[in-house]
C-alpha cells in the first residue's frame, strides 16, 4: 500500500470513527457525561446482530430493524435507571458507574459468546472495491460507512436545529434549570439523548462487526478511539467529530504504513500531541495569570 492509499483509507476509516463517536459527543454535549461504556454498548450492538443472524439467517442489514429500536430502549432505560442517579451524585459518579458497566458488559459478552472472534457478513458490498490504480482500491463498504456517518451526523444536526426535541436538547444542555421552568422535562430529555446515543453506537457496532472481526475485549479500544476522535475534533461540535475521526483514521493508517503494528499507536501519539499542544496554550494562560499575582 502506498502513502496515498494510506491517507485515503484513513479518511474512509474516519467515517466509521465519526459514526462511533457521534453518540459519545451527543451525550457529552447534553449531559456533560463521558460514557465509558460507550464502546462496549457499540459492541453489544454487533453481538445482537450476530445473534439474530445466527438464529434467523437474515442479512446483517436487516438485523438493524430490530437492533436499532432495541438500542433506543436500552439507552432510555440506562439513563432512567443508572445514569440519572449518577448525574445527581456529582462529577465522579457517572465515570465510576459507566466504568463498572464497561467491565460488566465485557465479561457478560465473554460468558455468553466466548472469547472467540466473530464477524458479520457485509454482503456483496463487503467485497466489492473500486480499483483506481494498481496500488489504490477503495472498498465500497468503507464508502457506505462514510455515507451512513454523514447521514447520521446530518440527521442529528437537522433534529437539533429544526425539531422541538432538538430545541429542548440544546436548551437543557445550556441551562437545565431554566429549561425546566419553561415546561421542559429535563430527565425525559436526557433519556431521549441517551437513547439516541446508544442507538447510534449500536449502528456503529454493527458496521464495526462487518468491517472487522470482534471479540468481547474490544469495547475499551473502541471507546478510546471514539474519545480520541471527539477530542481531536474539538469537544462540542458534531462536524468536528467527523474531522477528528478523519485525522485519527489517517494517523492510524499512516502508522500502519510505517509498521503494521503501529496502527493504534499512530492514533494515540497524535491524540497525545493534540493534548500537549492544548495544555501548552493553557500553561501560557496560567503563567500570564500568575505573573499578575506575583
Amino acid at each position: 500500500m502506498t502513502w496515498v492509499a494510506a491517507v485515503v483509507h484513513g479518511i474512509l476509516l474516519g467515517g466509521y470513527y465519526a459514526l462511533l463517536a457521534a453518540g459519545l459527543a451527543l451525550m457529552f454535549g447534553v449531559m456533560r457525561i463521558i460514557n465509558l461504556a460507550h464502546g462496549s454498548l457499540a459492541l453489544v450492538g454487533a453481538y445482537m446482530a450476530f445473534l439474530l443472524v445466527e438464529h434467523t439467517g437474515w442479512s446483517t442489514y436487516l438485523t438493524l430493524l430490530p437492533v436499532l429500536p432495541g438500542a433506543l430502549i436500552v439507552g432510555y432505560l440506562l439513563q432512567r435507571t443508572m445514569l440519572e442517579r449518577s448525574l445527581r451524585a456529582g462529577q465522579l459518579v457517572p465515570l465510576l458507574t459507566t466504568f463498572g458497566l464497561l467491565i460488566v458488559i465485557a465479561n457478560l459478552l465473554q460468558e455468553f459468546f466466548s472469547p472467540d472472534v466473530h464477524s458479520l457478513d457485509a454482503g456483496r458490498i463487503g467485497t466489492a472495491a473500486w480499483q483506481i490504480s494498481s496500488e489504490l482500491s477503495i472498498p465500497w463498504f468503507d464508502v457506505l460507512t462514510l455515507g451512513i456517518a454523514l447521514a447520521v451526523l446530518g440527521g442529528l444536526q437537522l433534529v437539533l436545529r429544526f425539531t422541538q426535541l432538538g430545541r429542548e436538547l440544546r436548551a437543557t444542555a445550556a441551562d437545565a434549570d431554566t429549561a425546566e421552568l419553561l415546561g421542559v422535562n429535563a430527565r425525559a430529555v436526557y433519556a431521549r439523548a441517551t437513547a439516541i446515543a446508544v442507538a447510534v453506537a449500536a449502528l456503529a457496532g454493527v458496521f464495526y462487526g462487518m468491517r472487522s472481526g470482534f471479540d468481547p475485549s474490544q469495547g475499551g479500544a473502541e471507546l478510546l478511539y471514539a474519545f480520541e476522535a471527539v477530542v481531536i475534533g474539538g469537544i462540542g461540535s458534531l462536524w468536528g467529530t467527523l474531522g477528528g475521526g478523519i485525522v485519527l483514521g489517517v494517523s492510524q493508517e499512516i502508522g500502519a504504513q510505517i509498521n503494521p503494528e503501529y496502527f493504534a499507536i499512530g492514533g494515540h501519539v497524535v491524540f497525545l500531541a493534540v493534548l500537549v499542544a492544548r495544555s501548552a496554550s493553557q500553561a501560557s494562560r496560567i503563567r500570564y495569570a500568575l505573573r499578575r499575582f506575583a
Binding site: 467491565i103 460488566v104 479500544a221 471507546l223 477530542v231 469537544i235 493553557q282
Partner: protein
C-alpha cells in the same frame, strides 16, 4: 431609630484536636499488627506468605487509586500503565542490566515516579472524563511500546520473566521471604507517606480542592501542584505494586486478559476503594481486605467474578457512595487515623 448591636459570639472553650483516644488506641494496635506481620516469614507458612503478598499489593493499589480519586478528585482509568511500567522497569534493570532484583524493584518504583511527571504535565489539565480516558490512552501506549520492544529481555508481545535474576541469587524460600518483606515494607512506607502528606498543608489544601476547586484556587491553594504530587505518588506506588507482582509471579504479559497492563487492575482498584470508602484513609485498606477475601474464598469463573466486581462497584457508587468505612465514619463520627481535625469543647486556649 431602633438599632440592635450585633452580638458577636466569642469562641470560648474550644480546642483543636488531632489525636483522639480512638486513634491513639488504633495506632498502638496497628503497631502491634505490623510487628506481627513483619515476623511473617518466621511465624507463617508459605501459603500464608504468598496470600499476604497479594493482599499487600492490592492494598497499595487501593491506597494509590484512593489518593487520586478520593483526595484529588481525579478518576484515573490508567493506573495499570504504571503497574506494568514498574514491572517492566524491574525486568530491565535485573535481567538486562544484571542488578540485584530487589534493587531493581526500587529503581522500578523510581521510574514510575519519574515517568509520572511528564505524564502529569500532559493530562492534569483535563477534567473528569477527559482525564480518565487520557490516562487510559497513556497506559495503552506503555503497553504497546512494551509489546513492540525488540529487546529480548523485554520479550515483546509474548511477555517476559524475572526468573533468572532471582534464581541466580536466591533459593525459592528466601525469595519468598525477601519479597514478602519488600511488599510489607512498601505498604508501610506508602502508608506513612500518605499519612504525612495528608497531615501536612497539602492535606488541608486537598480537602479544599475536593470541596470547591475554584474557591480553593482563589485563596491561593496551588491546585495543580497538589494534584501533581498525588499523581507522582500514585505513579510510584502503582509501579511499586507492579514490581511486587513481578517478584511474586515472576512472569508477566503485556497483552491479553491477564496483562500486567490490563484494565482489570483498575476494575479491582475501583472496587476496593468504592466498597472500602472513597476519600477516607482507612477505606482502601478495608476494601483491599474485602477483595482479597472475595478472591480467595469465593470460587467462581473469572468472568462472573468480574461481573460481580463491576456490579458491586456500580451498586456502591449509586447507593452507598461513601463506602463501608465512609458510612461508619459519618454515622459514628469515628476516625481511627488522625488525618483530620476535630473541634472539641473543653479548656480553651
Amino acid at each position: 431609630m431602633n438599632e440592635t448591636a450585633l452580638a458577636v459570639p466569642t469562641p470560648t472553650g474550644f480546642r483543636v484536636q488531632r489525636w483522639s483516644w480512638a486513634s491513639v488506641l488504633f495506632a498502638g494496635g496497628l503497631a502491634g499488627v505490623v510487628t506481627f506481620l513483619a515476623l511473617g516469614p518466621v511465624l507463617l507458612g508459605e501459603n500464608s506468605q504468598n496470600n499476604l503478598i497479594q493482599l499487600y499489593f492490592l492494598m497499595i493499589m487501593a491506597m494509590m487509586w484512593n489518593a487520586l480519586a478520593g483526595y484529588g478528585g481525579l478518576v484515573s482509568v490508567g493506573q495499570q500503565g504504571f503497574i506494568g511500567l514498574g514491572a517492566y522497569a524491574a525486568v530491565f534493570f535485573s535481567v538486562q542490566q544484571g542488578l540485584n532484583p530487589y534493587t531493581s524493584m526500587l529503581l522500578g518504583t523510581l521510574v514510575g515516579a519519574g515517568v509520572a511527571i511528564p505524564v502529569a504535565a500532559v493530562v492534569l489539565w483535563l477534567r473528569n472524563g477527559a482525564f480518565a480516558i487520557a490516562t487510559w490512552v497513556v497506559a495503552e501506549v506503555f503497553s504497546i511500546l512494551v509489546s513492540l520492544d525488540p529487546n529480548p529481555a523485554i520479550g515483546g508481545g509474548t511477555g517476559t520473566s524475572a526468573l533468572l535474576p532471582f534464581d541466580l541469587r536466591y533459593d525459592p524460600t528466601h525469595r519468598l521471604h525477601y519479597t514478602y518483606w519488600a511488599a510489607l515494607g512498601a505498604v508501610a512506607v506508602l502508608l506513612l507517606l500518605l499519612f504525612v502528606l495528608l497531615r501536612s498543608r497539602l492535606g488541608g489544601s486537598l480537602q479544599a480542592i475536593r470541596d470547591d476547586e475554584e474557591a480553593a484556587a482563589s485563596v491561593g491553594v496551588r491546585v495543580l501542584l497538589g494534584k501533581g504530587i498525588l499523581f507522582v505518588v500514585a505513579g510510584a506506588g502503582c509501579a511499586a505494586a507492579g514490581t511486587i507482582i513481578l517478584a511474586w509471579q515472576l512472569s508477566v504479559l503485556p497483552l491479553g486478559p491477564d496483562s500486567i497492563f490490563g484494565i482489570n487492575w483498575t476494575a479491582r482498584m475501583i472496587f476496593m476503594v468504592l466498597v472500602g470508602g472513597i476519600g477516607t484513609f482507612e477505606g482502601p485498606i478495608i476494601g483491599a481486605v474485602l477483595l482479597y477475601v472475595l478472591q480467595t474464598y469465593v470460587s467462581m469463573s473469572g468472568v462472573w467474578y468480574f461481573v460481580l466486581l463491576g456490579g458491586i462497584a456500580i451498586g456502591f457508587a449509586l447507593l452507598l457512595p461513601r463506602g463501608i468505612w465512609g458510612t461508619i465514619q459519618e454515622r459514628f463520627n469515628v476516625q481511627l487515623v488522625p488525618v483530620g481535625y476535630r473541634l472539641r469543647a473543653g479548656a480553651g486556649r
